[in-house]
Symmetry: C2
Subunit: 116 residues, 2 copies
DNA sequence: TCAAGATATGAATAACTGTTCATATATTAA
DNA sequence: TTAATATATGAACAGTTATTCATATCTTGA
């Protein structure tokens, strides 16, 4: 393999890319964030939570699946900092962690030309 | 399992969530898009391509790894509609598909408070 | 304290995914 | 056409992950 030496622009871009590549740990964090929202079951939970805070029972009602599966996914979403929870008596209410999540979802849907 | 019946707001949110849940096929498309950018090796390729179009050789140079691995990842990114390619003589030049990709990356970094 | 409901979690299994290795295809120069 | 370079790809293996099942924890009301 050899460089396409007649393409100086590519060479320059590569050099800048190397110089500006975020450290591995930062790349990992961004990847983790995206991974959290890259599974249909978790994504449905986020779509559901856009309509407001909900306890686990209602999330299960909204997205389908078993209580156990939803609970496992909620744990991952919470660990990724995408949702937050608060105890409310006997139930635990989940909600989106902040407005960035909604913005990313909407931008992605715009990219895909979805009607979100 | 029983509903937390004293929380009418949650009940309402659940009903709206069900009524507005995108069809499964649309959820899948969004998930696919996120999955494409949820692996560190693919993410590094995108970070690299922010600095301009590059052929495979230079991408390998910028992100590390083997030519085969990078080529496989480029195929996935292209299938997801995140990068595009054009033949340029003996090499094939890759670039980001559109500005939505950059916007999503920047928004996510803002969420994580990265210095992208 | 006891019972019942709501949520969380550990283990196990099945499905998926990233990398490597070897090889194939495509383009250019001679 | 042949040689050389650039890129793509199929198969296989290893590591990861989503779900299920059973059970544990936590909270409230009696």
């Amino acid at each position: 393999m050899r460089s396409c030496d007649h393409e100086a622009e590519h060479e320059l871009a590569a050099k800048r890319a190397m110089a500006n590549m975020p450290p591995a740990e930062e790349v990992s964090r961004v990847a983790e964030m995206f991974k959290a929202v890259s599974e249909p079951s978790r994504l449905k939970i986020l779509f559901a939570l856009r309509h407001g805070e909900m306890c686990v029972f209602h999330i299960v009602e909204a997205v389908g699946g078993t209580q156990s599966a939803v609970s496992h996914q909620l744990r991952l979403l919470k660990a990724a900092g995408i949702v937050k929870s608060r105890r409310d008596g006997q139930t635990i209410a989940y909600s989106l962690a902040d407005e960035h999540v909604v913005a990313v979802l909407e931008l992605t849907c715009a990219h895909l030309k979805c009607n979100l």
